[in-house]
Subunit: 383 residues, 2 copies
């Protein structure tokens, strides 16, 4: 692995595993959930509040930072960690997912992609070499290869084209990578086809990456289809490096994916839903604008130890949302991040104690999973 990195599986329950990822900016217990700081800020929260949630590793989006303020500005301001005031480990994606989902895409060919900036309309080129160079400039601990990410459902031929291109681009990213203090992860494509995924993986592993991610999931397919692919394919990912499921997901998705041996996750769901007044709680999803909370002196989640739950009533939180006060989104984002971190900590503890299967059956039968919304990829730009 890269300098200053190591990964060790410390316990397993079937495919599910707990581990320790060491990075130059600190250690991360896995399975780990990464809050998303799209523009190098977790929306509405200070780094201190994010750290209070228990998060150790956070994500920033290369696509957004490439367009604004630009990698040269981030580098001149001391690199990503110093820039955004986060001392702990960080990961940047390659920008590929946002180019495919957000940008006015002008052209994709083997060389790379050209698209129009949503900030100023300028035409921007992004090759695999560019994606790595930008991430080398930004300076996150973990960086990602540029991949082609087709939305689902997709024709087999489109999935195969994406796999071919993803493999060729991964090779170029590997060759272009210049910083030994940054880990480089590959991304496996192939849609819901476990055989195609396996082929993609088998062509990537000889290149020697520091981790392997699953891309192209939670992009339009039914959750059950994703879970089935995860159960079949997750355990085939290399055992001695981190396994990262990109852009996923709901609490239910996380439980299913950990059961399939995944170690790392990111998703905008806890913060985006938080800003809308949707809270994940130990008794199910709470919609704070609901009139039923008007006179409620209950905390948002009596089982939660976060600042929002220990200091405020549901009635006050509802008032903040009805009055369009930013503090509402801040407090529920903070709670949702804490909820996700506690969920991950419980899964780690259950794996370590050998009780993961029983814990999972008990939890999946409980009130937690009564309608958690999927992330809304159409609105990615707003995040």
């Amino acid at each position: 692995m890269a300098d200053g990195f190591s990964f060790r599986v410390t316990a397993a329950c079937g495919p599910a595993r707990a581990g320790l990822l060491r990075t130059p900016h600190g250690n991360v217990e896995t399975p780990a959930f990464m809050p998303v700081g799209t523009q190098a800020t977790i929306k509405g929260l200070t780094p201190a509040q994010v750290a209070d949630s228990g998060a150790r590793l956070i994500l920033a989006n290369t696509y957004h930072l490439l367009l604004r303020p630009g990698p040269d500005v981030v580098a001149a301001l001391g690199g990503l960690h110093r820039f955004c005031g986060w001392d702990g480990p960080m990961l940047t994606d390659s920008g590929g997912y946002q180019v495919f989902s957000l940008a006015d895409l002008r052209r994709i060919d083997d060389e790379g992609v050209r698209f129009r900036s949503h900030v100023d309309g300028a035409e921007v080129r992004l090759t695999p070499e560019d994606a790595v160079a930008v991430q080398n400039r930004l300076g996150a601990d973990i960086i990602m290869v540029l991949d082609e990410c087709p939305p689902l459902p997709a024709a087999t031929s489109a999935l195969r084209t994406a796999v071919e291109r993803t493999v060729r681009w991964a090779q170029r990213c590997r060759a272009a990578h210049r910083r030994q203090d940054q880990a480089l992860y590959a991304i496996v494509q192939g849609g819901l086809d476990a055989a195609l995924r396996t082929e993609c993986l088998e062509r990537l592993t000889p290149l020697g990456f520091d981790g392997y991610a699953l891309g192209g999931l939670s992009v339009g397919e039914p959750p059950a289809a994703m879970w089935e692919l995860l159960a079949a394919f997750g355990p085939r990912l290399p055992a001695d490096t981190p396994r990262y499921l990109m852009g996923v997901g709901t609490p239910l998705d996380l439980v299913r994916a950990v059961a399939a041996g995944i170690d790392q996750f990111d998703c905008v769901l806890p913060t985006r839903n938080g800003r809308k007044g949707y809270a994940f709680t130990s008794t199910g999803v709470v919609r704070l604008r609901n009139a039923s909370h008007r006179l409620s002196t209950e905390p948002l989640d009596a089982a939660c130890d976060c600042y929002a739950c220990t200091r405020f009533t549901r009635g006050y939180l509802r008032h903040l949302f009805m009055s369009r006060e930013a503090l509402g989104g801040t407090l529920v984002s903070l709670h949702n991040l804490r909820f996700y971190q506690v969920l991950m900590a419980r899964m780690r503890a259950a794996i370590v104690s050998g009780d993961f299967d029983a814990w999972r059956r008990r939890t999946l039968a409980g009130p937690l999973f009564d309608g958690a919304a999927k992330p809304d990829h159409e609105q990615e730009q707003a995040e």
Copy 2:
């Protein structure tokens, strides 16, 4: 004074004075600046962040809380302190100022005012008795009489009418007040006419209020005209109760007013300007959107000990504003509140040490006062 209250002047330098105000929710050193929590939240900040700024006493607006969520909801949720999670002393205004400046005013007569709610268009009546009853329900430590607040410039006859009505309404508020654990302050009107202000005051003091406020300033007149009135009239306010200058102001206004013997202030300026990226600093006003900060690794204010100044660069703060990220407004609001609290603490220390006049001359000649904007009363509703 009301139960649980006392006020004591502990030091003086000419008209300027330092004091200690005791309330049922804690003590406040004066002169004191109160952050404004219009809808029972200081916009974008948690109560913990507000407390970190050094603020001890905060304000909420009766007008806004009357319309949404309503005093019955606040009372059912435990009263204002419990409602918004602020353990310290609180003050509510009477709603009069907002009715005159914000509402679609339907009628004013001796009985009271009728206006249309900006939330749902409903017609709302507010008499002096209503204003006190609502504030009794909300439960702040300090409440205010309903007054008539004419904008400046105003004809002498309009000012006199407002004084007459303000005195009669103060009498009715005094009679209607039901909670001995809430201090009730009177409001002195009379525009820029010190003789008319004196007459108003002389008719209010026999009614026996717990404090006396100056209303109807910073409502359109030039700052120098307000300062002249303050210098002439401030020292005539009763010496043994707190003197409160409502809705003011810039750092320069605060220095001028403390020199005239004022003890309490509130203003939206630090938070409203903070949300716009305007920062008060020890070297003058900083406009964070300015391109000159693009690559700046400097802190916002090298002399400040707040979280924003000790953790982030001007370059990152600029990025947040250019990217429309809420954290920018939160961090600069937090800094501006800290700046105001430090300014007040320096004035208190200078008064206690007997050096206030020298401190004031030195400070007014310094870089602090190079263009601090006036609060924008036209946009009060947005706050």
